[in-house]
Structure formats: C-alpha cells, structure tokens
Symmetry: C2
Subunit: 144 residues, 2 copies
Amino acid sequence: MSEITIGALSKRSGVKIPTIRYYETIGLMDEPPRTAGGQRRYLDHHLQRLRFIRHGRDLGFSLEDLRALQSLSDNPDQSCEAADAIASQQLVEVERRLKGLRALRSELKRMVQSCAHGTVGECRVIETLSDHSLCNHAHWKPEN
Amino acid sequence: MSEITIGALSKRSGVKIPTIRYYETIGLMDEPPRTAGGQRRYLDHHLQRLRFIRHGRDLGFSLEDLRALQSLSDNPDQSCEAADAIASQQLVEVERRLKGLRALRSELKRMVQSCAHGTVGECRVIETLSDHSLCNHAHWKPEN
DNA sequence: CTTGAACCTCTAGTTACTAGAGGAATTAGG
DNA sequence: CCTAATTCCTCTAGTAACTAGAGGTTCAAG
C-alpha cells in the first residue's frame, strides 16, 4: 500500500500543490489521512481522482462539470444522457473555437508575410477580429 | 454621426454593460464623451474596438494579448520588426492552440460516440476522463 | 540529534468578469 | 411642461480557478 506525500502526488498528477489543497477545500478532492504531525498522506484513489480532474480541466470542463460527472459515476445505474450532454456541449464549443482560430491564423500568416515589406498600416489582423461579418457564429443577438 | 448609449453599444457588440465599463477602467477601451449629465455616448470606433475585443476573447486571447495587438493598429507607422514580433508570437500561440483543440476534439468525439445511451455504468465519458492511458495527447509530463 | 527539505495554515493577489444597491439622468407620453 | 418608466451612474463585493508568499512545523537523512 503506497502512501504518498502531497509533493509526490503533485509530481505524479501534474497538479500543483496549492491547487491540490484548493481542490480539497472546495470539496472536489476528499480529505486524505494525515500523519501524527498533520501532514497529508495520499492513496491510489486520490491519484486517480486527481488525474480525472486534471484531464477534464485540460479538456475544458469546469470544476462544476467535473463535480457533476463525478456524481454521475457515483451512481452508475442512471442513464448516461447527462454525461453525454456535458461532453457534447464541450465538443460544440471546441468546434466553434477551431473555426475562429483557423480564420485568425490565415490572417496572422498573411500579416507576417506582408510585414516583411510594409508597415503595420497594411495589417488586417485587427480588422479580421473586428469584422463581425467574418464571424460565423451568431453572438450578436438583436433581441438581447 | 451616431452617438449611442452604453446599452445600445452593449446590444450591438454582445458585450455586457458592466464589462464595457470594466474595459474602460483597465484602459482597454478609451473613455467616451459624456453628456452634460455624465452618461457615456459612444461612437463607431468604440463599437469596432469592442467587437475586436469580443472576438479576440472568444478565440482565447487574454486581455493583455489584445492590448498588444491593439498597439499595432494604434501606431500604424511603427517599424515592422516590432509588429512582426507580436504577430509571429501570436501565430505561434494560435498554432499551439489549434493543435491542442484538434486533439481535444477527437477525444471528445470519441467520448460522445461511445456514449450510445446506455447507463452511466457503461458510459465511456467518465471512463475516458479517469483513464489516462486512453488519452492520446500527452499532457502528463513526467519530468514536471 | 541536527539540519535542510518539504510540509502546514493563512492571507492576499490574479484575471476577467458579474451582480446588486442606491441614486441621478434621459426620454416618451399626456 | 411634467411625470413615469427606463436607462444610466458609481461603488462595493462576489465569482471561478487558481497562485504566491509569510511565518512556522514536521519529516527523514546522515
């Protein structure tokens, strides 16, 4: 049975020490056992959970999303529609960002090239970002 | 000449009123003229700038990034070297983000597909997040 | 048994907003 | 011209998700 320190847990999970403690205070990680002196000693399931969180954060899930997903896995007999919804929503978000970034990349490329011979005045990057017509997802809701 | 209120600006830009004022306090938006009574009245260039910020934020740029990008368009006569540096840096950033998002998308797609409306017990969304070995993009740096 | 690394708690700072209170200004209707 | 509804003003404080630092304690190697 491997009891590891918070430092070791941090290294194995890739999550910084203060962040691990933060997750504990907000109840996302459960409290680990302590030594007589009061230091945290973690077990394998803590590492599992932390990797789950880390991975989820990397994928753009909020801590609340992860909390929801975690509670889903705690009672595995319900339908997985909720989990699917959370993941699908992330997917839509990602597609949207990809689209915008591809447009921006081509503009930046163009700019870097034209910068070799001109002034910033010819730069279209600002216009690209400013121009609403180039924006394919509606975030100007007239009724809003 | 169109002078619009902060509410109208908010509607046309999709940026909330308090956020517009916040951008003003941190110096990202310049102070608009005021009425005798002290209310802000915006002009076209404010809308341009706000849309620029909105889109940039949407694409994941920090306010500091946008400040840098904006300084390009604010002095169009500056040397190409400075502009090129900022633009190139942004291009690298964009490429990096595109790469990450593409990996993320494939993983999310896989998650959503494998969640074909069973119960949570069979749902791979949670499993995928828990199991690091199922993750095909490396975000666990062992040396870290 | 000492000593240096790693741990502890606590407070406060960061980024990028968002909400609400309490009050003044503007505008549309009568 | 006056009133009422709406919108605006400033200010404080709260949010998410950390991150840094101070000042002190515990652990483990030698």
